[in-house]
């Protein structure tokens, strides 16, 4: 009888398969501009308001399709968007005349009042993933359609760091909002090129072109956003054509196969997200720069990129700052030198004990390395680092933890004042950290108020001095100059070792939609990929 059951099951499978409509009918030949595309994201992003999206990438990118900012990052610089132009003489007072005849999705006009309201609203509501820290703005005022913002101190990076990030909110909808994290889809009304027309947890989102968009023309009629948590499933769905773009970086192991498949294209570019090896500089022996340096010299970052990323990455700059970042740091040479590492450890008096493990100050050099259990490249890198350090006579125990448990040890409550409990940890910063000198300063400043990202607990008066010079510099040139000095100090002191920056590579169905363009800092999912702009 089980034969019959199997047969019945099979025929059911076949029956349903006949009615299948997977895959998408190709559009007219040559254009490759589908009316509707589906993109895959990895987790739910809430109601897609600037306060309710869950991730920076791709959540913030989606929010920015619904909401506009005053300026937009384009290429290496910024271009005016809602503002007609950016006028400043001292990088302290910014005058921003708004473009006329811009409307919200509900048809009401966007005015300078909305801009002033937005700044005040962000000041009052700091929570939310795309929320912006507007504290550097001392004063904002509007007269007619001109907005003027005055900063507490001159900041040449202000347009890029804050204006390009700050989604302008419609005052008439948001002034009644008390608890921003409960803002519903009725508040996901912006002035951007796409409108949110449907959201439910079973089918994801539908964004529809905003026909009244004054600044350009949306390139597709509708964007469906599907939530697919599992990486392999996302790429399987891309192969079948159920999905036309994956917002996940193509895993290095799959890159070659995907590129070979007809109909699939890959858009590549520089990513500024960094992967680091963090030393707990408050715990001996990692409080000694010589020790950190010796350990760092034992680690071949080039090999990590070659092996764990299959070449899909850039070895870390020992001075942290990516050479192509807007701060334009120096391209420092790698510091890997296995023999030098052994020599320096010998010089520190760390002689190998009977089991081959070095003994430093009477203690065996045996440490724990924490790694995020959900990140395959970090897991593999951690294993490689263990082998590299073992080769230098230092024992490493790799401990994999889910990312929250790991954060609770390295960065409890995201508050560096609360201390830290680890030896070494795999760590990483998202792209925005690399984009402004202000955040880079926060990685290293010894005062916890300034160094809010100083998870390694680093303290150095010399570095603090450089940071002070850098953040006070009124021009970009002066900041770059100070940043280069800071890079040299990081490479010398090594509070953490920058291991690599993963390359960006995003796969899409070129037989369906092929206009994906790369924008440093936001990858392929950006406004220029989906809108024909007429910014003039």
């Amino acid at each position: 009888m089980y034969h019959r059951t199997t047969a019945a099951l099979l025929s059911l499978a076949l029956l349903t398969a006949c009615g299948s409509s997977t895959g998408t009918a190709p559009s007219a030949p040559g254009t490759r501009q589908a009316k509707s595309i589906t993109i895959a994201i990895s987790s739910d992003e809430g109601t897609l308001t600037p306060f309710t999206n869950q991730t920076g990438y791709p959540g913030n990118n989606l929010v920015k399709l619904l909401f506009d900012t005053l300026v937009i990052v384009r290429g290496d610089g910024v271009a005016p968007l809602l503002a007609k132009e950016i006028k400043t003489s001292d990088n302290k007072t910014f005058t921003l005349p708004l473009r006329p005849s811009v409307t919200w999705h509900d048809g009401k006009p966007l005015t300078s009042d909305d801009v002033v309201f937005s700044v005040d609203f962000y000041r009052k509501n700091m929570e939310g993933d795309s929320s912006v820290d507007v504290r550097p703005i001392a004063k904002v005022s509007a007269s007619g359609d001109v907005v003027t913002m005055t900063l507490k101190a001159p900041d040449p990076e202000f347009p890029r760091r804050i204006l390009a990030d700050m989604a302008i909110l419609p005052k008439h909808l948001w002034e009644s909002v008390q608890k921003v994290s409960t803002a519903g889809v009725d508040k996901a009304v912006g002035s951007g090129p796409y409108k949110l027309t449907q959201y439910d947890n079973a089918r994801g989102y539908t964004l529809t072109a905003n026909p009244a968009y004054a600044l350009g023309k949306p390139k597709v009629d509708s964007i469906k956003v599907a939530v697919i948590p599992e990486e392999s499933t996302q790429f399987a769905a891309l192969r079948t054509g159920e999905v036309h773009m994956s917002t996940r970086i193509v895993p290095p192991q799959q890159l070659a196969t995907l590129e070979r498949q007809p109909g699939i294209g890959v858009v590549k570019g520089t990513e500024f997200a960094s992967t680091l090896l963090a030393f707990n500089t408050t715990r001996p022996p990692f409080d000694r720069p010589e020790v950190r340096r010796a350990l760092a010299k034992a680690i071949d970052t080039g090999d990590l990129v070659k092996t764990a990323l299959l070449g899909q990455g850039t070895p870390g700059n020992p001075g942290f700052i990516h050479a192509e970042s807007p701060i334009k740091g120096d391209r420092l040479p790698p510091i890997f030198d296995a023999e030098a590492a052994k020599r320096e450890l010998d010089a520190l008096g760390a002689k190998p004990g009977p089991d081959g493990i070095r003994v430093l100050d009477g203690k065996p050099m045996s440490y724990e390395l924490l790694v995020q259990s959900a990140s395959t490249d970090r897991l593999r890198s951690a294993e490689l680092i263990r082998d590299m350090l073992e080769n230098a006579g230092v024992a490493v125990k790799v401990t994999s933890l889910d990312s929250d448990s790991l954060d609770a040890k390295v960065w409890p409550d995201y508050d560096v004042r609360k201390g830290r409990n680890y030896d070494m940890s795999m760590w990483g910063w998202s792209a925005p950290v690399m984009l402004s000198s202000g955040t880079i300063a926060q990685l290293l400043a010894s005062d916890p108020d300034d160094g809010s990202l100083n998870v390694v607990g680093f303290k150095s008066p010399a570095v603090d001095e450089t940071i002070a010079t850098m953040t006070a510099a009124p021009t970009m040139e002066a900041r770059t100059e100070a940043a280069k000095k800071l890079q040299a100090q990081i490479a010398e002191q090594l509070p953490f070792l920058t291991l690599y920056y993963r390359n960006g590579a995003y796969a899409f169905r070129k037989d369906v939609y092929s206009s994906w363009t790369w924008q440093n800092g936001s990858g392929a999912l950006n406004k220029f990929s989906l809108v024909d702009y007429r910014l003039g």
Partner: protein, 332 residues
């Protein structure tokens, strides 16, 4: 007085005694469901911004968020609110997306019932039928073949089988959709069924071996027991012997498992829902855990607790009906 009459007379008291027990289980479980999420490393603060942004918040600003959204208030007060909420069915608001917890659960529940309900039903029918066949034919090639097949199917990890099916039926053959519950055309009956095939197959194949083995063992034991052997000696025809004398007692342990499985419907199928991007309770619970979304976790665990306790109670309550003799064990 016949056994059946005795069962009917004692029944109400039996049930009342049980109710008190299950209520205490419920209370202990509720307490644990409140305590365990809060024991997890980290907390829900991360839902209120990127780590880089949160790092800049002052202690006052942190406290304000924690108080405003409830997770910063004193624990006894939170516990009290939670208990009140449970009894008034107001489970609070999800910290991750601001939806009422009851709504989040109600959105996911139908999909889970469809997915896990279907697969549990298919698994039960196939597992028990094949188990009976395996027991009756244990000496024949077919019986051994069944045993082998059940064990092989059972020893494949779910995520593995799921990916295999996706690669085979989705990517290579392009026959079936690989993710979600509906295609771009929206939720239609045909579309939903199509999307159901691969996940249900995965759950069924990996869940069947278990029931097969239990059914087989249980039935074999009963078939060789004295009452059945005596009946056999009396000349009761074989088919009737199995149906009338062996099957009912043999299925008692299987019944227990099935009731538990039905209770666990509410847990969803985390792995399969993840592989196939299925919007059910398993994925919701998993996301709530990783997000440290206390109210949502509490809500999901509450549904699970109530379901499991209910089905256990039902399993216990139905033993005497399935096998009147079994009740003597509870009387002493």
């Amino acid at each position: 007085m016949t056994a059946v009459q005795a069962v009917r007379r004692g029944y109400p008291r039996y049930i009342a005694g049980r109710l008190a027990e299950y209520l205490s289980v419920l209370l202990v479980a509720l307490t644990l469901n409140f305590a365990l999420p809060r024991a997890l490393p980290g907390g829900p603060l991360k839902l209120f911004g990127s780590p880089e942004a949160l790092a800049r918040l002052t202690a006052d600003e942190r406290a304000q968020i924690a108080t405003q959204y409830g997770f910063g208030r004193p624990l006894p007060q939170q516990f009290l609110d939670y208990l009140t909420g449970v009894f008034t069915l107001d489970l609070g608001t999800s910290l991750s997306d601001g939806r009422p917890v009851t709504q989040a659960l109600a959105d996911a529940l139908p999909w889970t019932l469809l997915l896990v309900g279907t697969s549990t039903a298919v698994t039960a029918v196939l597992g028990v039928t094949l188990g009976v066949a395996g027991a009756l034919r244990r000496r024949r090639g077919k019986g051994s073949g069944l045993l082998g097949a059940a064990v092989v199917a059972d020893s494949v990890p779910q995520f593995w089988l799921g990916m295999l099916l996706i690669v085979l039926f989705g990517v290579k053959l392009q026959l079936l959709p690989t993710y979600g519950v509906a295609g771009p055309e929206g939720v239609t009956v045909g579309g939903v069924l199509q999307h159901l095939v691969l996940p249900v197959t995965t759950l069924t194949v990996t869940g069947m071996g278990y029931l097969f083995l239990y059914t087989r063992s249980s039935l074999l034991t009963v078939l060789t027991s004295e009452p059945v052997q005596h009946a056999h000696a009396r000349g009761v025809p074989y088919g009737r012997l199995v149906r009338r004398h062996a099957l009912r007692p043999a299925l008692l342990p299987v019944h227990t498992i099935l009731m538990l499985e039905i209770g666990f419907l509410a847990a969803g199928a985390i792995v399969v829902e993840t592989v196939f991007a299925y919007p059910g309770l398993g994925r919701l619970t998993f996301d709530a855990i990783t997000a440290r979304d206390y109210p949502l976790m509490q809500g999901a665990f509450l549904v699970l607790t109530v379901m499991v306790v209910l089905m256990n109670a039902l399993a216990d309550a139905t033993y005497p009906l399935l096998d009147p003799r079994a009740r003597t064990g509870d009387r002493r």
